[in-house]
Amino acid sequence: AQRVTQPEKLLSVFKGAPVELKCNYSYSGSPELFWYVQYSRQRLQLLLRHISRESIKGFTADLNKGETSFHLKKPFAQEEDSAMYYCALSGAQGGSEKLVFGKGTKLTVNP
């Protein structure tokens, strides 16, 4: 079975500080990992996916298969980064491709 663990429920940093949101996964096959974000009063939306190897809003995430991790990082946090962040894993389970979410981390960037 596939599982996503986000060990931090809450994370608080000051503006300009580096931020790292942790994500670990459990999956026997070749996973695809994603970060979704939900800003206050907005819909859940895709932030980035590991296969694109892209940087969105200054955020990057590297898939580490050895450590089964996909941590989200930003060198200098901004107040507008305050949001709920969900790590998600796509893998085949029971014959279908399923997207499974972690419990989320609430990031607060203080001025």
Binding site: L44, S96, E97, V100, F101, G102, K103, G104
Partner: protein, 116 residues
Amino acid sequence: EAGVAQSPRYKIIEKRQSVAFWCNPISGHATLYWYQQILGQGPKLLIQFQNNGVVDDSQLPKDRFSAERLKGVDSTLKIQPAKLEDSAVYLCASSLRWGRGNEKLFFGSGTQLSVL
């Protein structure tokens, strides 16, 4: 482009009552998902449709939950009878296609259900 539409936005019912939620996905999106998000947890997939066929409903409590997508466009999710533990936000999402590489899901605003 218009996003995923859901209604109602909020619903309060008593336990053992029934309730229905409606979702209209983005035009042209073949895959539609219903997720349940209990407070403090991440979204949990209930059911996934590809056009009007069910791809995955392994986590749908079928004794009380049902969903349909008859014409392959909009969808309804029903709970009958509701229990206290069904209190959650019900999220509808859609994607262009189903399968590996198509996991950019577009979410609706959700329906917040309170069962008293």
